[in-house]
Subunit: 255 residues, 2 copies
DNA sequence: CGGTGTCTTGAATACCATCAAGTCTTGTGG
DNA sequence: CCACAAGACTTGATGGTATTCAAGACACCG
């Protein structure tokens, strides 16, 4: 089989068993299109793949991979939501970024293993791992790949800088509203938002929001019920509806 | 003359007037060595430079450049300290990163202009701007340049992620201690630290520390005097001495 | 059916911000 | 060289935002 690396903590399934669930059309962020063949995890038998790779699948709440696992592979999310998390020794957690379909775990993964963070599945997740050396060689060879790769990198760094500002200088209300609106943007790029009023799947638990915004779950709960009481948003059944876009935008951009 | 771009808000001096102050040997972070000739800002008359560039110099507290200025140039700090800052409409500021000699303003600058932030001189600063197109072409052409460029990028992203964790999940004491220790590391890479007890130039004002750690200047003052009272560090004359490295390290790594 | 995870709510507390006043330094122009 | 203004730092009093602690409701699952 094509299986290349065993990932600790991940309930791996072989490619064949989940063929069709790797929606490569969603790979907009990366736009590299290096998967073996669209919509199936199986390589065309006749032509060998330029980049060694393999598909995996983990259920919600399981760890996808740890930093140390990532010496020679680069994972990309195919379907589902995940989070890159830094854990501190006292048990508190900081979510550095949410990973949506099409996202590489981190663009720095091409060059370094990011030993300080781990990636956890929020929903059930299908992902694909690429051999780092092969991928690097391919990207170096094709300038257009390098460019789309750079775009992903700039996006990632921009989001990181924005998060720094949010955590450093904004209140709980602002942080939470901005987190939601940032996710709306990213989901919209992937056509995962239904419009008017804006509504979309939202699998995050309140503790995910807390870990991403540097708050406690208790306080997240209070802010969200306040948002609901003010008729700004509605959350139910793992989905969010933005009832009052301008009011909600005002909360997110109070300065 | 070789002067290529005028930067708004910067008191530019021509290359010749500050020859010798562009210590290109400090360009360790980038390690690209594309300056016209070491230690002078002037190109050898006989050989045309592969990358169009120019040297500038701004006094402390002045703005080096704004995001909008950076459509086609990439600045690199040659000497002095600077800060990349995001300003909010209510006047509060968040320092996204400190820039030391050898640092590119941001590695993403090669591809995008980062319109949301501005760069301010902390000390008197000499810096050099490179033509983006030229620099990009040069880097694409030479794989070893691309690699050292990627190293700088991984460093930058790692620091950004660490800052996210610090701002999201650490107390004021921890944030400030970690900021100082991170700067020690970066200065040590540049041979700008004297040892035993560790001592180094520290031009930051307390409001810089506040803007970097998401705190107020008042609270920074209280934490620093507490550090002094406990015999952890000593600050005077724009320099810091770490009196009790293990105690100070404990404060920085309480979790 | 107990166990676990999720969310809510209230009370008490901690951490840091805000406000204010005062000292000291630094720089500038007369 | 002095006078003045602006910036930098300190300290104390007060207040607000978010945390911690605790208890309970609810859903889901094996």
């Amino acid at each position: 089989m094509n299986r290349q690396v065993g990932l600790r903590g991940a309930d791996d399934h072989e490619n064949g068993s989940i063929a069709g669930e790797f929606a490569c059309s969603l790979c907009t962020a990366l736009d590299i299109n290096i998967c073996l063949s669209p919509n199936t995890g199986n390589p065309p038998a006749s032509r060998p793949a330029p980049v060694r790779q393999s598909g995996h699948s983990v259920p919600a709440r399981r760890i996808i991979c740890r930093g140390q696992d990532l010496h020679d592979i680069v994972p990309v999310i195919c379907s589902g939501w995940a989070a890159a998390i830094v854990m501190l020794s006292d048990g508190s957690r900081q979510i550095v970024s949410f990973l949506l379909p099409g996202d590489m775990i981190s663009t720095t993964m091409l060059f370094d293993s990011k030993p300080y963070c781990l990636v956890e599945a929020i929903t059930d997740v299908n992902f694909r791992t690429f051999n780092r050396t092969d991928l690097k060689a391919l990207i170096y060879k094709k300038p257009e790949l390098l460019d789309s790769f750079f775009r992903a990198w700039v996006d990632e760094k921009t989001r990181a800088d924005q998060l720094i500002v949010d955590l450093g200088r904004r209140t709980a209300d602002e942080r939470i509203a901005r987190l939601i609106l940032n996710l709306v943007d990213r989901l919209a790029q992937r056509d995962m938002v239904r419009g008017n009023p804006t509504e979309f799947d939202f699998p995050l638990r309140q503790h995910h929001i807390a870990d991403a915004t540097g708050l406690t779950p208790v306080h997240v709960s209070k802010v969200l019920t306040e948002f609901r009481r003010n008729g700004l948003i509605n959350i139910s059944e793992r989905s969010i509806t933005i009832l009052d876009p301008i009011g909600f935008g005002r909360v997110a951009n109070m300065r």
